[in-house]
């Protein structure tokens, strides 16, 4: 194939998924753009935002890839069965690892900003916000990933090509939306700096 042929094929294959995640990214951006008051109220939270959002993609993208592989290998059935030990293991591992990464990000941001002499919210506030938002978005994303992968597979789609765009799109939206909810809840509970 010529260079132009390869380029056209690659361009057309990528455009729909990228456009979908673009919409998700813009919605997430609008929520983030409207969070100025919360971001100002919790100094250091803005620094944690990329890590918190990326964790969604890294952890739940990996959960989706694992479920796709498991379906292809016949290790799991494409039906939601809460008693299936493999499905439970994969979902629980995603949640545990996601929460660990959120906690590590919050602690790292606190330590680095403190070392730099910047203003930063109390450690407990940052950790509480990142764990709560990690938990809420983790539950929502697990549900989305499981349903999309299983439904897609039952309808004859390759779940591998569904997982990436779905996780990046919903991950950004849920990530920012639950971050906003978590900041409000933690501030209301008296965790303000």
């Amino acid at each position: 194939m010529s260079v132009i042929g390869v380029a056209r094929e690659a361009y057309e294959a990528a455009l729909p998924a990228l456009s979908a995640s673009l919409v998700g990214g813009l919605i997430a951006g609008v929520v983030l753009g409207g969070m100025e008051a919360e971001l100002r109220a919790v100094p250091g939270l803005l620094v944690a935002v990329p890590a918190l959002l990326a964790t969604r993609g890294n952890v739940y993208g990996s959960l989706g890839a694992r479920l796709s592989t498991g379906l292809h290998q016949g290790l799991i059935e494409p039906y939601v069965d809460a008693g299936d030990p493999r499905l439970r293991g994969a979902a629980a591992a995603a949640l545990v690892n996601g929460l660990l990464a959120c906690a590590v990000a919050a602690v790292a941001v606190f330590l680095i900003l403190t070392a730099l002499g910047d203003t930063v919210a109390p450690l407990s506030t940052l950790v509480a916000i990142s764990l709560l938002s990690g938990l809420l978005s983790g539950i929502a994303l697990t549900a989305v990933v499981v349903v999309v992968v299983f439904t897609g597979y039952r309808r004859g789609h390759d779940p591998d090509s569904l997982v990436g765009p779905v996780v990046t799109t919903t991950g950004d939206v849920f990530g920012v939306a639950f971050l906003l909810l978590s900041v409000r809840l933690v501030l209301a509970a008296g965790g303000g700096g």
């Binding site: 194939m1 010529s2 260079v3 132009i4 390869v6 380029a7 690659a10 361009y11 990528a14 455009l15 998924a17 990228l18 456009s19 995640s21 673009l22 990214g25 813009l26 997430a28 951006g29 609008v30 983030l32 753009g33 409207g34 100025e36 971001l39 100002r40 803005l46 620094v47 944690a48 935002v49 990329p50 890590a51 959002l53 990326a54 964790t55 993609g57 890294n58 990996s62 890839a65 694992r66 592989t69 290790l75 493999r86 293991g89 629980a92 591992a93 545990v96 690892n97 660990l100 990464a101 590590v104 990000a105 790292a108 941001v109 680095i112 900003l113 910047d118 990436g164 990046t168 950004d172």
Partner: protein, 185 residues
């Protein structure tokens, strides 16, 4: 992918890379924190942040997975004249040129609807387009280097290149956006 589906087994495979990537993302957050004042002054820029870093990471991960597949199929050579390499590089830049003006216009329009635009639509589209093209070029260079590195060290590019490229593009997304804002405003 391991056949071990226990929480412990999955964690052992996932956690080390996840924590390294989390620290890389904290680095990106520190850059973001560095232009906090401008982000609060022009909230349209804050709207651009998730979509810019997300699209940059997606461009990198799509290119990485296409090169990995071509590499596994043996249809790919590390030469500037290779059609797969050149074609995919061209497509990545073309996708950036198509999508980033839409990102800029979308961000501006959404802020307008919510009642708070300080920057002109031309400025926001320009910031978005320039960031996007620079990011696409960086994503191409980074993906080729990472795929070549994986190949030289005998690693499976699927395991290594996609996480490295996606997360590095996240950081570069913030750095490039910051640099373009400094030059433009």
């Amino acid at each position: 992918m391991t056949a071990d589906w226990s929480v412990r087994g999955i964690t052992r495979a996932m956690l080390p890379v996840l924590l390294v990537m989390t620290m890389v993302e904290v680095g990106s957050g520190l850059v973001l924190g560095g232009f906090e004042a401008q982000l609060y002054q022009y909230p349209t820029l804050l709207v651009l942040v998730p979509v810019t870093i997300g699209t940059a990471g997606n461009l990198g991960s799509i290119l990485a997975s296409r090169l990995s597949t071509a590499f596994h199929l043996g249809t790919f050579a590390f030469e500037p004249t290779d059609e797969t390499l050149a074609g995919n590089a061209v497509a990545t830049v073309a996708l950036a040129v198509t999508l980033f003006p839409v990102v800029g216009a979308g961000a501006w329009l959404l802020r307008l609807l919510l009642g708070g635009v300080q920057l002109t639509v031309g400025t926001v589209v320009w910031i978005s387009l320039l960031s996007g093209v620079v990011l696409a070029v960086l994503a191409v260079v980074l993906t080729i280097l990472a795929t070549y590195g994986a190949y030289r060290f005998g690693l499976d590019p699927d395991d290594v290149v996609i996480p490295v490229v996606t997360n590095t593009c996240d950081v570069l997304g913030v750095v490039v956006l910051f640099a373009v804002v400094q030059v433009t405003l």
